[in-house]
């Protein structure tokens, strides 16, 4: 099986007062058609910068190296017209805040048909017909009427479903969902998760879901990349990663979650805070917060390599591998 998206050695450097600093540092990942892949990590871990780099939407002054090939086309090298042709048509994005993603004074119909007509070259009436179908797919009641309505007339959950419909309008092959349910209620979140899951089954759309919520990750993603301070900490199948994590950071993220079975036991937070961009520690970036850190952790920057003892592909950037005995 060939990969739909192949990101290799992606490095995004952002200007800070102390010079350029890597917000994403040497990240490689692959996504296959119809597959949901997750990127997990706290704020500042480089999740969102990774996503934005695929769309050429990085902040002004950012330096990008490496490659991100979608079917052989390097998205990072595209500029101008070719980039516009890819955006929306091949890759589309759903952001965290549906209110900001939709134009407040254009009707849903206009927003849904705009790039459908641009990319697919269909007539206005055909586009409107397809738009109504899409709204039905994302379970918006009375699609015909919704097409004539404005974003403000819908609730947050419905707006996010509309934003997903807009992203899907030109039938992209890769959907990047950046914290798609963080702002929503659990009940609405469940609906969005089911929708995303259905889409990638029925349409063979590949999805990259970016979230710090490992519950969402568990429900949706088949494989997870865990990032910390711009670097890959661990990557592997969700079922392994969430039951037998090998990286102390993954373990820490899991322990910080309220556990469905543990009653009243205090939560176990990861001590300290994630480093800011200008102050990423040397060696393993996680070592100051790591309970298992040894002397070599502060000295050498670990590379993600195949974890020993794992059957499938499982990358781990933790040479001491203290959790191996447990695994």
């Amino acid at each position: 099986m060939t990969a739909l998206l192949e990101v290799e050695n992606l490095t995004v450097a952002l200007p800070t007062r102390a010079g350029y600093r890597n917000a994403v540092d040497d990240l490689s990942l692959t996504v296959h058609s119809g597959e949901v892949v997750g990127i997990a990590g706290e704020s500042g871990s480089g999740k969102t910068m990774t996503a934005l780099s695929l769309f050429g939407l990085l902040p002004h002054g950012a330096k990008v190296t490496g490659s991100a090939r979608l079917d052989g086309t390097d998205l990072l090298a595209l500029r101008g017209r070719p980039l516009r042709d890819v955006r929306g048509r091949q890759v589309a994005m759903v952001s965290q805040d549906p209110t900001a993603a939709l134009h407040p004074i254009l009707t849903i119909g206009t927003q849904l048909t705009e790039h459908m007509r641009h990319h697919l070259g269909v007539s206005k009436s055909e586009a409107l017909g397809r738009a109504a179908e899409l709204l039905d797919t994302v379970r918006i009641p009375d699609p015909e009427r919704a097409l004539r309505s404005y974003p403000g007339q819908f609730s947050g959950g419905m707006r996010q479903r509309i934003a997903i419909a807009v992203a899907l309008a030109a039938e992209p092959r890769l959907l990047v969902a950046d914290e798609p349910t963080t702002a929503l209620d659990v009940t609405v979140q469940a609906g969005i998760l089911q929708l995303l899951d259905r889409l990638c089954r029925e349409r063979d759309t590949a999805v990259i879901v970016i979230t710090h919520d490992l519950g969402v990750m568990s429900a949706l993603a088949r494989r997870v990349y865990v990032m910390y301070a711009g670097r890959l900490a661990e990557a592997g199948p969700t079922s392994r990663l969430l039951t037998r994590p090998r990286h102390p950071y993954t373990r820490g993220l899991l322990d910080a979650l309220p556990h469905p079975e543990a009653d009243g036991a205090p939560l176990v937070p990861i001590g300290g805070t994630p480093p800011s961009l200008g102050a990423v520690p040397g060696g393993c970036p996680f070592h100051p917060r790591c309970a298992h850190a040894v002397a070599s952790c502060a000295a050498q920057r670990p590379e993600a390599v195949q974890a020993s003892g794992e059957e499938g592909p499982h990358l781990l950037a933790c040479p001491p591998d203290p959790l191996r005995v447990l695994a």
């Binding site: 706290e42 490992l214 429900a219 910080a256």
Partner: protein, 384 residues
């Protein structure tokens, strides 16, 4: 799993006089000349040293309740008392000094801290209002910063120098400056990162236990409420539809709405199971559905649900060791919690409704250890 006997009530004795009490509280807003009841006849108590979780979807009135409890919005009916005294709505005048012990922690620490004032000054204000001098305010601010796990040097910093979790600690330290006996926290951890969430949840729990502060924790995140709250109240469209001991409500939710909320939580177990969906949205409170307000979305609704108003009925069969009446498990659903002949044999009736046999779950009162039931009901709902 959770068995009912391990009810954590004993180590947390609930005194008879709650520090905060809402009785029949109702709040109305005006919208285009129309009256909208955002909060409708809510009874709720919080005792010192107790954490009460308030959960529900957005638009169900949680935040309105929190704001009414501290007097930020006036009541249309009912009362709110703090330490036995009525909480008067905030007007043009200075807030009454006797209410200083009732404090609020807001959701977004990026908005709630004045960006142009130093942390020490932000916290010191609480002391100055209480009649302290600047010198004592300063030393107490440092003390409080250390209490919430920040270095003393933080007092000389500005809010932007701190991360979200640290800012929320500062906001909590600021409320502590007033020497509160009751805190209302409206989504205090939703804006934070996963590890910061755990830190703040633990900090609040520790403060509540050690300083004997009552805490009303408003959150849409049930798993956090479940972890820290002693009691939980579930709201839907301005009303409380279920209340009870957290472990009991979690392991055996009686109201279909609570059940749907619990089933919708994705679990980080790597099993790849999609959480169960609850279709529909919270209706517009300007025109609430007739009868049970949840009936249009309810999977177990019957015809009469659309006409019969529901009120909280205590669940029989579940032992209630807590001394306060508020610790009883109660739900407002006549399908799941039948009123058992309107009071004849209500409290003790063994298997009061097995004959009624409406749904498998209606046999719940006869089986206190609702584990099996909970498991089966979650399973059925997640397969649809």
């Amino acid at each position: 799993m959770t068995a009912p006997p391990e009810n954590p009530v004993p180590d947390n004795p609930v005194p008879d006089n709650p520090v905060l009490a809402l009785t029949g509280a109702a709040v109305e807003y005006r919208r285009r000349g129309q009256r909208v009841r955002a909060l409708d006849g809510v009874d709720l108590t919080v005792a010192r040293g107790e954490i009460v979780g308030l959960v529900g979807e957005s638009g169900c009135g949680k935040s309105t309740l929190a704001r009414a409890a501290v007097g930020l919005v006036p009541l249309a009916a009912g009362t709110v008392t703090f330490d036995g005294q009525p909480v008067t709505p905030l007007g043009m005048r200075r807030r009454a000094g006797r209410l200083r012990g009732l404090q609020m922690v807001f959701q977004d620490p990026y908005e709630s801290l004045n960006p142009r004032r130093k942390i020490g000054a932000l916290i010191g204000d609480g002391m100055l209002l209480g009649g302290g001098s600047r010198a004592t305010a300063r030393s107490r601010a440092v003390e409080l910063l250390e209490r919430v796990g920040l270095p003393a040097t933080a007092a000389d910093g500005y809010p932007h120098e701190f991360s979200g979790g640290q800012r929320q600690r500062i906001a909590i330290a600021r409320t502590l400056a007033a020497g509160p006996s009751c805190l209302i926290a409206d989504e205090p951890i939703s804006a934070l990162d996963a590890s910061a969430q755990a830190q703040i949840a633990n900090l609040l729990t520790t403060l509540v236990r050690e300083e004997r502060i009552g805490l009303l924790l408003v959150s849409h995140d049930l798993s956090v409420v479940r972890q820290v709250a002693d009691r939980v109240a579930v709201m839907y469209l301005g009303r409380i539809v279920e209340t009870g001991d957290t472990a009991t409500v979690w392991s055996g939710p009686a109201h279909p709405y609570t059940e749907a909320l619990v089933a919708a939580i994705p679990r980080a177990d790597g099993a790849g199971v999609l959480p169960a969906d609850l279709p529909g949205d919270v209706p517009d409170p300007a025109s609430p559905p007739s009868g049970c307000r949840f009936h249009p979305r309810c999977p177990v609704a019957r015809d009469d649900c659309a006409v019969t108003e529901q009120r909280l009925i205590a669940l029989p069969g579940i032992p209630v060791p807590g001394p306060a009446p508020g610790s009883a498990h109660a739900a407002a659903c006549h399908v799941r919690v039948p009123q058992a002949g309107s009071g004849d044999t209500a409290p003790s009736g063994a298997g009061p409704s097995a004959a009624d046999g409406a749904a498998p779950a209606s046999s719940r009162p006869a089986v206190p250890g609702a584990d099996a039931l909970c498991g089966s009901s979650t399973r059925t709902s997640s397969t649809c």
